[in-house]
């Protein structure tokens, strides 16, 4: 009875706050969309058009063939041709090129007379993903070139033939990898901030003083605070998923209903996190800092950017403490692999338990006394 009256009163009032301040609402809805578009395009692990410098000391048919093979991969963009290996180094140090190809004299001849031809690729290792990509491509171009020196008959006699096939993301588009993770991250950002602010505002404006002198129900207050922002968050999810499908072309391979359900579970975990912050923070500036403190590990350690498998053991286990970790696995599972609830049960259970725990802790911490 008391629970319902409190809930109704608070819910209605929060809705009025949202209505009175439409700018905040528009900004909170617009920012994630903007983020999705910017990040969705910017976080692109496929590295193309790496600026490259070439020092061709051979100037023969073999070296020309090698250079055009490199260019044809699409990964290298020849920015300049230089005369010496020292100039190649300079170009990299100065940042004009990230890769330097040095083809020594006698490259063509060595390939023909069977003594062996070698060329050198200098790779700027300061951006590891660019460097990795360049090394891989140079290796495979080198291999192709060697194999090309054999006759066709010889190739068929190669003893091992590895034929990898990539499932679920056949084009290896990084949008497929990033956008589902981004959906989770954006949801967390919006809901944590909105709820944390909704409660802390009452402390900052002093309205909590009159509010706590009433016989309100704690649960009703919390639910009344959460639910309006859950609606905003859910609306946001729908917008972001639509963008994912139609702007980034990422299809949902699994059940959309299950996807939305899991989004709702995560939503309450994130809202609970916001509420927990609001029980500690005294003003909006503090709440902001704490929300950022939560956000940083979520971005870095949840597997959103870096694969968790390659993390050091401590950090790997720490990442189990981040709710976004589970949610991103669920998102990728449903969206990319078409996974069903059965195959995602452990992550789903973990997320649900997490959500319930966070909500209960913040409910317990939420004090009806002034500090």
């Amino acid at each position: 009875m008391n629970f319902l009256t409190t809930f109704y009163a608070i819910f209605f009032k929060e809705a009025l706050h949202i209505k009175r301040d439409p700018v905040t609402l528009v900004v909170t809805i617009a920012i994630p969309i903007f983020q999705l578009i910017v990040f969705g395009y910017a976080i692109d692990m496929e590295v193309k058009n790496i600026p490259t410098a070439v020092c061709d000391a051979d100037k023969g048919s073999g070296s020309r063939e090698l250079i055009s093979a490199l260019v044809n991969t699409g990964y290298f963009d020849i920015k300049e041709s230089v005369a010496s290996e020292a100039d190649l180094r300079d170009a990299i140090v100065a940042g004009r090129a990230r890769v330097g190809i040095h083809i020594p004299p006698g490259f063509t001849a060595g390939g023909v007379n069977g003594r062996g031809a070698s060329f050198q690729a200098l790779v700027d290792g300061s951006d590891s993903s660019v460097a990795m990509q360049a090394v891989n491509v140079v290796n495979s171009v080198g291999l192709m070139q060697s194999v090309g020196k054999f006759g066709k008959a010889d190739i068929e006699k190669l003893p091992v033939d590895a034929r990898p096939r990539v499932l679920f993301n056949p084009d290896l588009k990084s949008a497929n990898f990033f956008v589902p993770g981004l959906v989770g991250l954006i949801m967390q950002i919006v809901t944590v901030f909105l709820t944390a602010f909704a409660v802390v505002r009452e402390k900052e404006n002093g309205t909590i003083e009159t509010l706590l002198a009433t016989p309100l129900s704690r649960g009703g207050l919390m639910l009344g605070k959460l639910l309006p922002y859950a609606f905003v968050g859910f609306f946001e999810i729908c917008v972001v998923l639509t963008l994912m499908r139609f702007v980034f072309g990422v299809r949902v391979n699994g059940d959309v209903g299950l996807l939305l359900l899991m989004c709702f579970v995560f939503l309450f975990t994130a809202l609970g996190l916001g509420l927990l912050i609001s029980t500690v923070a005294k003003n909006q500036a503090q709440a902001m800092q704490m929300a950022l403190l939560v956000m940083l590990p979520s971005v870095l350690l949840s597997g959103f950017v870096f694969p968790r498998e390659s993390m050091p053991a401590i950090i790997y286990y720490f990442s189990f403490l981040i709710p976004l970790t589970y949610f991103i696995e669920i998102l990728r599972g449903i969206i990319l692999r078409g996974a069903d609830l059965m195959s995602l049960w452990s992550q789903s259970l973990a997320l649900a338990v997490y959500g319930a725990a966070i909500l209960s802790v913040s409910a317990l911490r939420f004090s009806k006394k002034l500090s």
Binding site: N2, F12, H17, N205, T210, L211, T214
Partner: protein, 317 residues
């Protein structure tokens, strides 16, 4: 008559600082209890403990038989609280604020509509019903807060400096409203710094340096022996040149203290100090005495004397 509010050694510390120390007193049902004391003496802290907003460090208080330590949720149903600083929603209108609190107290639709209209009428804020409360002027904010505190018809209302910063007419209206509520049996617990308001209260408590110094009806306080020690009297004198007169009086034999009060001198003196002595003292400076009479001490005299005495006792100790 049994007390509807009873404090028993109520104490609150903030860290090592004691804001309220062993305060005990009772407030009778239907009275207008004026709670006075200098800034920082602990008035608001006492009210917050009584409203269940702050946990007492030790001691307890009972409102209508319910303990603030054990039963603060039950107490909250039957009290109204108007805090010292404005603490309503600035982005909601006057009417929306009232409706929100009505809903929190669980008023049904019909009763809510009726009570919102009535309380706006009583506090005279009906004309501003559609205005955002953040844009109201200070005095109107006070009236809105007052309307909010009595919306659900509580039996006890706590008003923390309800008249701070409001104009004299509004102040008179507010006091008329308080008298009306008190006549209907509502108990009012009011803090103020205005002596004229203190005079209007049925009962008064005076708190100084976190401790309660006196509590009682205004007339009783004025008769306290500490205020008028044996062998002393309170006098009022007028003169044509009041400032010179004050200087002369202070130096006169038998005068303990003198201040200007409006157009007259307010004097505390030994019982032997009569009209003849006063006239002589002034004549020495060429100033004439126009009128002279023995008066009762004012509430201000009461508080000043008690405070001085307490400070002297501390100094001596």
């Amino acid at each position: 008559m049994s007390a509807i509010i009873q404090l028993e050694k109520l104490t609150r510390k903030f860290g090592s600082m004691t804001a309220v120390k062993d305060v005990s007193f009772g407030v009778e049902k239907g009275s207008i209890f004026g709670f006075l004391g200098p800034n920082g003496s602990g008035k608001s802290t006492v009210i917050r403990m009584l409203c269940g907003l702050l946990e007492p460090t030790s001691g307890d208080a009972w409102l209508d038989g319910a303990s603030v330590r054990e039963d603060s949720e039950r107490i909250k149903r039957n009290i109204g609280y108007m805090s010292q600083s404005f603490s309503l929603y600035r982005d909601l209108t006057v009417e929306e604020n009232l409706a929100f609190y009505g809903r929190i107290y669980g008023l049904g639709r019909e009763r809510l509509r009726k009570r919102v209209a009535e309380s706006m009428e009583m506090s005279g804020i009906a004309s501003k019903r559609k205005q955002l409360s953040g844009t109201l002027s200070g005095g109107w904010k006070q009236r809105l807060a007052l309307a909010c505190s009595m919306l659900h018809e509580p039996g006890i209302i706590f008003l923390d400096e309800p008249t701070a910063g409001i104009d004299p007419v509004a102040r008179r209206d507010l006091w008329e409203l308080l008298f009306r509520l008190s006549k209907d049996g509502v108990t009012l617990f009011v803090t103020t710094h205005y002596m004229d308001e203190a005079e209007r209260c049925t009962h008064i408590g005076y708190i100084f340096l976190s401790e309660l110094m006196v509590c009682g009806k205004p007339a009783e306080l004025k008769r306290l022996p500490e205020v008028t020690p044996a062998g002393t009297v309170w006098l009022e004198a007028t003169s044509d040149r009041i400032t010179q007169a004050l200087g002369l009086m202070k130096k006169a034999e038998g005068v303990l203290d003198a201040t200007i009060f409006g157009e007259s001198l307010h004097i505390r003196a030994a019982a032997e100090f009569g009209e003849r002595e006063a006239s002589l003292a002034l004549a020495a400076g060429g100033v004439s005495l126009e009128s002279f009479r023995v008066v009762k001490p004012s509430l201000e005299d009461v508080f000043v004397s008690l405070t001085r005495e307490r400070l002297n006792a501390r100094g001596a100790a």
